[in-house]
């Protein structure tokens, strides 16, 4: 909400994502911060930010399928696995360059997403959730039982190299991931303003009404699945290069649920929300890492798994509390805050 007296005087102004000088300055400062970050933060935080970037790409994909188009996808990590394994095979076994393998990973994940998204034409709600849940288990099962894909042992993945430049340190990988996450975010933000994005929103709000308005449900629902899973494929590919070793057990239903949780905590249907939610949960992850040694001292019986258990308890509690207390998520809180400081000291 903008205060009275602030008008757009040209179409360019109306369409701009970054509106004011203050926003440009803040954006520039943020970019400088991101670029400078790994040089003063140390390895741990660089790693945290890199993983946040990867998760952010996956959550943005989910934001398009579930947040914008309303098609529930419980199998996002399985689609990430498809992307990760595609990269591992294209680069590791066939020796293709990264710039070819990355889009291929996205497209393969997208096509697999189409297979499991196809039932969305007949079914919705719970039924669709079940179909994507089945995708999660079936895809991981297939990987576990295919010798070519390394079965339970997993596959090794080489460093990323673009035209002879090898991304062989954490910091180089960080820059690659952040750059791709920014592009993904910008694309997702702009998608909401295209014909496809508006069609997605119409389908989410009322699919019958959307169909009556002339939106081709078949095309747009599948498109939403394809784009969402494309993002997952890209995220999976980066994941594979970041850890340089992939194994089916890295891609669990639990992470799919956390991704959905990030979306919910951020606010369903808002791109800013997807970013806020991801960062929030990832910071919570750091917090769980921090408190688990303390808890491990208190519960000596379960020392081995205490990080895992604290993470699960913390995330699930936060997700449930958000669902009950603030179903519109952090994005809504952010809007309230923005409105209040813009209008300050007046109430409206």
């Amino acid at each position: 909400m903008r205060p009275a007296g602030t008008y757009d005087t040209s179409y360019a102004q109306d369409m701009a994502i970054v509106r004011t000088k203050a926003q440009w300055i803040m954006l520039a400062a943020f970019l400088v911060f991101l670029i400078a970050f790994p040089h003063f933060s140390g390895r741990y935080w660089t790693g945290v930010f890199s993983l946040t970037g990867i998760a952010l790409i996956a959550v943005l994909g989910l934001h398009i399928t579930t947040g914008l188009c309303g098609q529930i996808n419980l199998g996002q990590t399985a689609f990430m696995a498809v992307g990760a394994y595609t990269t591992a095979i294209l680069i590791g076994k066939l020796g293709l360059p990264f710039l070819v393998a990355l889009p291929c990973a996205g497209i393969t994940a997208g096509i697999v997403g189409l297979i499991f998204g196809a039932p969305s034409l007949k079914i919705k709600g719970f039924y669709l959730a079940m179909s994507t849940l089945a995708a999660q288990f079936i895809i991981i099962w297939i990987i576990l039982h295919t010798e070519f894909l390394g079965a339970a042992v997993g596959l090794k993945v080489p460093y990323v190299s673009i035209g002879g430049f090898v991304f062989d340190t954490d910091i180089k990988m960080y820059y690659l991931i952040i750059a791709l996450a920014l592009i993904a975010g910008l694309a997702a933000l702009n998608l909401t303003r295209t014909r496809a994005g508006r069609a997605f929103t119409a389908i989410r709000d009322n699919d019958l009404a959307a169909e009556v308005m002339g939106i081709n449900l078949f095309y747009y629902k599948l498109l939403a699945f394809f784009i969402g899973c494309f993002y997952a494929g890209i995220a999976g590919s980066l994941w594979a290069h970041y850890f340089r070793y992939i194994q089916p057990l890295q891609f669990t239903l639990k992470d799919s649920v956390w991704y959905l949780g990030m979306l919910v905590i951020g606010g369903v249907g808002s791109t800013v929300g997807a970013v806020l939610g991801t960062v929030f949960i990832k910071l919570l992850d750091v917090f769980a890492d921090y408190i688990s040694p303390i808890l491990a001292a208190a519960f000596p019986l379960v020392r081995m798994n205490v990080t895992y258990a604290t993470g699960a308890i913390l995330f699930s509690l936060v997700i449930i509390i958000f669902l009950i207390k603030e179903p519109r998520g952090l994005a809504h809180r952010w809007q309230i805050f923005k409105a209040s400081y813009r209008l300050w000291p007046y109430a409206y």
Binding site: I72, M130, L260, Y308
Partner: protein
């Protein structure tokens, strides 16, 4: 042929337990249109609790079972009151994520309380194997199967002949009508949750006594119970039992023949493939209500 009969018998017996797990899910879905994806988590943690009562505190088996059932009732009322009731009227996505998150919460609690390894159940069922012609059946399975059938029949009678059960039926049919007849919809929701978690406790104890107590048991709430529920129809109690038996047979026979070809584990994925096929062909299942959408 003997091999086939053995696979068939295994399938039917395990199918009884799947039916029992799905019965709890159907109860909740029927009354409140909530798909309880945390059912597996409850099943797992209540089985752990039983293990704790019987092994750690040394209570007699019957007392442990009764205490676990009491905990289940309390947990059901609590979950309904503090998690599901505030979510009434919110989109389906909220309920799905809340119940999934609840499942992982229970898993985390179970790991904190009992660690991540598996434990053997107290032996309260005789070990000997039963022979029917060439087919061998463990007594565990028979007990589980008979319990499933008996509970199912009791539920059926309860819903048909008691005032309480009829009230619950009306709520699942039409909440508006139920209210105008003076039935408290909220109370019915709470009661169904208590009922369903009692089912989960029984199924959890039976399932754990077949294998072991472990937090991996939770996954059957998703990978087995959902296909069963979908095959039978989301709202149908006989459907849950029939679906359980069918899924069990598919898994037993299919798994028995396919396992040697793929190196084991086919029974993990057969119910899910079955579920995908049902979703594509007949999403309302065998006995479910086919919904017709009008504009």
């Amino acid at each position: 042929m003997d091999k086939f009969l053995q696979f068939l018998a295994n399938g039917i017996m395990i199918g009884g337990i799947y039916g029992l797990v799905a019965l709890g899910l159907v109860l909740i879905y029927k009354s409140s249109r909530v798909l309880n994806l945390a059912h597996g988590g409850f099943l797992m943690i209540l089985a752990w609790l039983f293990w704790s009562f019987a092994e750690q505190f040394g209570l007699p088996i019957w007392l442990s079972i009764l205490s676990v059932l009491a905990v289940a009732v309390l947990a059901g009322l609590g979950v309904e009151r503090f998690i599901l009731r505030p979510l009434i009227g919110q989109p389906i996505l909220a309920v799905i994520i809340a119940t999934l998150a609840l499942g992982y919460f229970l898993e985390g609690v179970a790991i904190m309380a009992w660690g991540a390894d598996t434990k053997g159940m107290p032996k309260f069922i005789p070990e000997e194997v039963f022979w029917v012609g060439p087919v061998s059946i463990a007594q565990h399975y028979i007990l589980a199967f008979v319990t499933a059938i008996v509970l199912f029949l009791l539920l059926l009678l309860f819903f048909r002949y008691t005032r309480w059960g009829l009230g619950m039926q009306i709520v699942s049919e039409d909440q508006q009508v139920a209210r105008s007849l003076g039935i408290s919809v909220k109370n019915v929701f709470a009661q169904t949750w208590a009922f369903a978690l009692v089912m989960a406790a029984i199924a959890g104890i039976l399932y754990a006594s077949l294998h072991a107590v472990s937090n991996f048991n939770a996954v059957i709430g998703l990978t087995k119970a959902l296909p069963v529920m979908l095959l039978g129809g989301l709202e149908s109690l006989p459907g849950a039992l029939a679906g359980g038996l069918l899924v069990g047979v598919f898994e037993g026979v299919g798994g028995g023949y396919i396992d040697p070809l793929v190196g084991g584990g086919a029974s993990d994925v057969i119910p899910l493939i079955l579920m995908l096929l049902i979703l594509l062909v007949r999403p309302y299942g065998i006995f479910g209500w086919e919904r017709i959408e009008r504009i």
